[in-house]
Symmetry: C3
Subunit: 347 residues, 3 copies
């Protein structure tokens, strides 16, 4: 993107909640754009400076008028949102990112999280440097985000007024559904999906499912397990209830986990290695990178013994713990073994 | 029921939330009836047509008067509810089901889910054909159900007004406690209990517990694990933290799981076979239908080796993985083995 | 404390929610005190009787004036809270506990839970006798606590008014964050932390984490697993996603679990024995007190075979299930073995 100055990485206009000192606690962008076409990028440059800036309802209204007739993915939605925001009697936040650099403000962090949840960017495709430093730790309440320092007074005031303040979390990341609900998904318990999760069309996340930011399921998927930061589950794969994928932030030892298509990770199972396509881990079995495994062919013959990490990314594998011997086995077929050996010969 | 035209399968009058087009998003029935006695059924027939229909506050008030003096389980509660609903200034929903046929409307689906959670019907006892098609996928919010297509505009409007809209889920099924709170239960986290769950008197569901619709615990029970769709846990059995029961919708391979009485499924354990009474699965062990097991008698002798499915429904079994051999064992006593063999001899 | 009549165990003034009969459903104490210095204790005795009593805004205001100039931990915060409570137009609740006796009222139970979550008392350090009997089972709703008997009518009234009542739980214990948010913590899903949890500075509890009352993490910690009642996790230890600690209320067989410092319990793993420092349990492995283990030294030699309970509280242990043999091993070094043997020789 930096190579082509006429395009623009991302743009959005939204509303931030603010603490008593006027600092942003979050930012809601109803219709963010990514990879703007030159004509739209030009319009944006004519109205707003690079980086994070402020405008008001009138500014949003003028920009909506300017967008009239412009073409491009999401442009009509942005224009409609700006027409609504023209009614604002409070400051509006504008983020114009000419390229995908490190995150420099709370609003920029929220824009990138919105891009992921709006399916405008895949997990692991954005520059998220600085995200933790840019996101304030916030009390998420039934009245919206509240500065943690202001919370005790807010709690007392609510009680004195006979009202109830529900504090649903204290975290740097909010729940996705308060900002973005992508089409064609079901989310049984929204408290388990962080803003910045990517849920593809046809994804169902059951109550025990969890999806971190910068992680997700490409859809369609049935997710009843935990998708850690950085992990991607490809189409038609299921995570069973309580199953675990090791993340890059903790436990995974630097290996990025991907689950290929048509995989099944059984209930209460888990993986510390990436899986190719059509792999199954039986319920209750946790495969870590260092797990010693017997590779067994379709005739039941033990072909070799490996550490699980040597099978990282391979397809057509069935992982079980043999109930008669307690050994962990990787059952597969001769073709998969040969493909896998060829693959690793070129590493 | 169809055999006796003077009785009636179920009846309720309630309030639906509706989208901008007037379509129902849910329906709340404060006092549903099941298996109505002939006199009450006759009164219902005199006021309301078969199937799903509409009335208003006046209609509810007239029906309350008609119920005056009628006898039967739940009739007084229904009359009281109708007297309250007489104050309604919005349309009311009526569902009269002469028999337990396939589900034909959103309101009918909600009535059957209410019957389960009101303990008027046991799991697996109702005709739920068509339930997924009849339930719209809805955004569940702090303002009640919202049509998903109307959600983005609702989110923007709330922000512009300086208000907060919490979206707690996007699902076909709502949380039970917003509709029904049965007596004598504790539910630590209501987001984990779907409407249509059956929680018997004396049931505690801890934070890690989960109960799907058409599933439940007969009570008293301590539930810290997951009760999948179709699964029933009988009295005095405990599901340990994070334990798993395979459902009929996914993973269970068509076997319907029941957990008998006085069973204990340990923390992080799981079962893919039904258990009889007084069975224990040790913490962390997952038994699937295909798990090979050594059956060991009270003298420590291995009696035989079986697949777990051969023990489906048997009582007095203790499932452990032997730490010295890694083998999965089913420890039991001679009497239980003989009973079990006799049982299966007649299969 | 009983030895020194001039001091006082605990004191607080707060606001209770009440049912239609005026009985308390909960009690919120904005600034509780513990171990009051004699001068402050004397002031309290001058204003309020021992045990649970009532006052009003004027009483709180007079006490705030009396506190002017008094010194001691938390006294300034208490004075500030009392100045705010002086505006109350509803009854206020006062709890003065001269010593740490059994719990005699709902307000006393709430005060002790507040002391734990305010980090004024460590788990297992308070007399909690009578807590279950003193805590009413309550419907926790978006309007605050509601008496369960009053809930059905409240639900109907909300529907008739076109409003939404969210019932988030039905339990004796509420969520901590609606009462106390300690400094320096992150709590991804507040529904998983009960009032009475102790979260030390620097503790992050992720979505899958759970902390019961009278249990906690001394901080800093990363908690993605379940901390059962009575369990304490010491500094710099991590509980992996879905990991389990056996509690004293269920499953633990009377052993109180402590996790020492610099431990790691892997995802979906669990422990039924206390751990010393620098111990690791690999992902997916559940150690119960009765698990037979091979103790293996740093040369891979099996030193002896024990039940896990014999290693309770020992340090520098790595627990794994050998993938080649299915045996559970405790890998350690000669020094740790010798220390451990010496330790147990003195038991």
């Amino acid at each position: 993107m930096a190579d082509n100055p006429s395009t623009m990485f991302a743009f959005a206009i939204g509303i931030a909640a603010r603490n008593a000192r006027g600092e942003p606690l979050d930012c809601y962008f109803p219709a963010p754009l990514k990879d703007l076409e030159p004509a739209v990028a030009e319009l944006v440059r004519g109205h707003f400076p690079a980086g994070t800036s402020a405008t008001d309802g009138a500014g949003a209204g003028r920009f909506a008028e300017a967008l009239d007739g412009a073409a491009g993915d999401g442009v009509a939605a942005l224009a409609a949102a700006c027409r609504r925001l023209a009614a604002a009697d409070r400051p509006l936040s504008v983020v114009r990112l000419d390229e995908d650099g490190p995150i420099a403000s709370t609003e920029e962090a929220y824009l990138k999280l919105h891009l992921l949840s709006h399916r405008l960017a895949l997990p692991n495709s954005l520059n998220l440097d600085g995200i933790f430093a840019s996101l304030p730790n916030v009390a998420w309440t039934s009245r919206g985000p509240v500065d943690i320092a202001e919370l005790p007074e807010t709690l007392v005031a609510a009680r004195l007024a006979g009202e109830h303040l529900e504090v649903t979390g204290v975290d740097k990341f909010p729940r996705m559904t308060n900002y973005v609900v992508p089409t064609g998904v079901r989310i049984a318990d929204a408290s388990r999906i962080r803003l910045g999760a990517y849920l593809g069309e046809g994804t169902t996340v059951m109550h025990e499912g969890f999806v971190n930011f910068n992680a997700g399921a490409l859809g369609p998927n049935m997710i009843e397990g935990r998708i850690s930061q950085g992990v991607v589950v490809e189409a038609n794969s299921d995570l069973g209830g309580g199953s675990s994928t090791m993340g890059t932030l903790s436990g995974g030892g630097g290996i990025r986990i991907t689950i290929g298509s048509h995989c099944l990770i059984g209930a209460n199972a888990g993986t510390g290695i990436p899986l190719g396509d059509r792999c199954t881990i039986e319920a209750g079995l946790y495969i870590t990178a260092g797990t010693p495994l017997e590779v067994v062919d379709e005739h039941g013959e033990v072909v070799r013994t490996v550490k699980a990490r040597e099978l990282a990314g391979a397809s057509d594998l069935l992982f079980v713990r043999d109930g008669r011997t307690g050994r962990v086995q990787c059952r597969t077929n001769r073709r998969a073994i040969e493909l896998n050996e060829a693959l690793h010969a070129h590493n």
